[in-house]
Amino acid sequence: MGEIIANNKNTNLRTEEMVVQMGPQHPSTHGVLRLEVTLDGEIVTDVKPHIGYLHRCFEKQCEAMSNYQQVIPYLDRLDYIAAISMEWSYVLAVEKLLKIQLPERVEYIRVIMAELQRIASHIIAIGTYGLDMGAFTPFLFLMRDREMILDIFERTCGARLLYNYFWIGGLSHDVPLDFIDRTRQFCNKFKKTIVEVNNLLSYNEIFIKRTANVGVLPADVAINFATSGPVLRGSGVNWDLRRDDPYSIYDKFNWEVQVGKGERGILGDCWDRYMVRCREMEQSVKIIEQALNQIPEGDVKSAIPKRIRPNVGKMYVRTEAPRGELGIYLLSDGSTSPYRVKARSSCFVNLSVLPEISKGAMFADLVAIIGSIDIVLGEIDR
């Protein structure tokens, strides 16, 4: 495609370039992202992402809270598709500052919840990616199963999207009695759905044609841009914080980090990134099943002081959220509210590779590339 542009220049055929504003209201920008796209016919010559339409002063708001606990609901609103994973980073940071030891049961429930959340989040990523490619049906199949996850969450903490479930030193509630049965039921059903979606979408010839060899992100570029999560692993870099910088009890389970292998095209193309998510869902099911078998009885709240007042200090904690590495930097001045909360957003970093990998692609490819990066604007703009 780059050749076509070069040819046009060689033949002195001056073609007018068109600047198109893609977004903030556009079905494929997955939120209120605006892209300033320069088009030469159907070929993208330049992309400039403009962000900030969803800015909510998250970090400043955190400082205004009267205690540490009150920050958690704001965390939910970062990546609202994967709220549990957002909570976890912050809660972990505070707990490390306080040096709290958590009960076993809490850790197990947290892992199960976070992995359920990862599946729910990847369902959205994969489903809407299908929508971007014009395939409607897999999206609805996946959403049907996501409903089961949301029901589990609803029965546990009363909310379906923004949970406020991980509290400092434990959880807001214990899980309901039928939690284990329901989660098992979901796991069994979801294994079939993954096969169904693979048949319908992942290995569909048209889908492969649309996504293989498109938006190739080489491993070195991915590392230089500090990408993380499925975007990084899609380029073949074997890096997952759950294994490489273990937190909680992930080291107790038997699972594998999924990386892109370049099966259908060049390593690091959209299909690889997509497929990493598909396979991660299988791995998450695996982790959940193991955790369900081992989950102990016990308390879900550890003994923490009524007023949380960490010593003066700082803490940086990173966890593997569904979209990549979420880092929370916490600065405590010894008072009851955080002095500073800084979030290192994975989507923000991942989005920065977009101009790099979409130059010279077709316009339809741009949609495929945005979808494969899988951004949530709530986390980018904060």
Partner: protein
């Protein structure tokens, strides 16, 4: 048909007007039904229910309610739009697809106009749609609409070639372009249908025709001109109310037109598949519409199963796959006829 009507009405002009209006009487209820069917088919495939409340039984009145809603909508014309073209475009699109119905044989008696060049006429007149689409895209003064219009023109023009070539293969066997005569040649049991003759060439031509016709009516996997996730709504982004409904109606009318040609040319048209069983005036219409709806069902089936192709891949399919194979069909049938 026209003779019969002239006898009743006593005037030729009156009968011609009725003949001209009859397809419209068919198209509107059909389009209402097809939109409802599309919703129900997609719902069935996606594990949903679809409309269930409006009208009582399985939401049968949903599309009627939609049309009433569209009628009430404000007709918005963008201030910078080319007003005349903007107004004219939906009508040209509809005329293009409606005019094709003039030469479609619904039964042994009923055909709007029994042209000797029926098939040729349909292919030619349905190209008018392209003009309307380009007008709509250009007049809206919207970059997205223009992109959609450019895509759809490129697509429809290039897919007309395999369409015409695959039909040409059948015309070579039939030796006529009169659709009524082509249908009469296929009378009898279903193995007399053209699709089962000169195997595999006509069958191949049928597949080529069907794929190309999908592209001509902008259905998935070739729905690139209105690619929802890329161009939002393509050329009809800036249309509201009844003008939008006209595009919609034209799309569904077009879907039936291409399905009707497929059934008339390849699947015996109004002929019953079982010889004399269930054949006759009324049954002719029944079989013809049933075959048309069957093809429309397949179009829906594909739409809710497959993703969308990219523009260059679309062109690749047309020029490097369908067109050469259409030539193979013509060559094969020609050789068969000579030998």
């Amino acid at each position: 048909m026209d003779k019969f009507l002239t006898d009743i009405l006593g005037s030729e002009i009156g009968s011609y007007i009725i003949i001209a209006i009859l397809p419209l009487v068919f198209i509107v209820p059909y389009a209402l039904f097809a939109v409802w069917l599309e919703r129900k088919v997609s719902a069935k495939m996606q594990d949903r229910l679809g409309p269930m409340y409006t009208g009582g039984w399985h939401g049968w009145a949903q599309t009627i309610a939609d049309i009433i809603k569209l009628l009430q909508k404000e007709d918005i014309v963008p201030t910078v739009a080319d007003k005349k073209l903007h107004l004219l475009a939906p009508f040209i699109v509809f005329v293009g697809s409606y005019a094709a119905f003039a030469a479609i044989p619904f039964s042994i008696e009923y055909i709007g106009s029994n042209l000797n060049l029926g098939l040729f006429y349909i292919i030619a007149v349905s190209s008018l749609v392209v003009v309307g689409l380009l007008m709509a895209g250009w007049a809206s003064n919207n970059k997205w609409s223009l992109l959609g219009a450019m895509r759809s023109v490129a697509q429809i023009v290039s897919y007309e070639i395999p369409t015409a070539l695959s039909l040409l293969a059948v015309i070579m066997i039939a030796g006529t372009m009169n659709l009524q005569e082509i249908n009469q040649m296929q009378t009898g049991w279903f193995w007399n249908w053209f699709i089962f003759q000169k195997f595999p060439f006509v069958f191949l031509a049928f597949i080529i025709y069907f794929v190309a016709s999908l592209a001509e009516v902008n259905r998935t996997p070739f729905d690139i001109p209105e690619a929802e996730s890329e161009l939002v709504a393509g050329y009809h982004t800036e249309y509201t109310g009844m003008k939008f409904a006209m595009f919609f109606l034209a799309e569904y009318a077009n879907m039936f037109a291409v399905s009707a040609i497929a059934s008339a040319v390849f699947l015996g048209g109004w002929n019953s598949p079982f010889g004399d069983f269930m054949s006759g005036q009324f049954w002719g219409v029944f079989w013809f519409v049933a075959k048309g709806i069957f093809f429309i069902f397949i179009q829906m089936w594909l739409r809710w199963t497959l993703p969308r192709l990219r523009v260059d891949q679309l062109m690749y399919v047309s020029w490097k796959v369908l067109t050469p194979w259409a030539f193979v069909c013509i060559f094969g049938i020609g050789l068969w006829l000579v030998l």
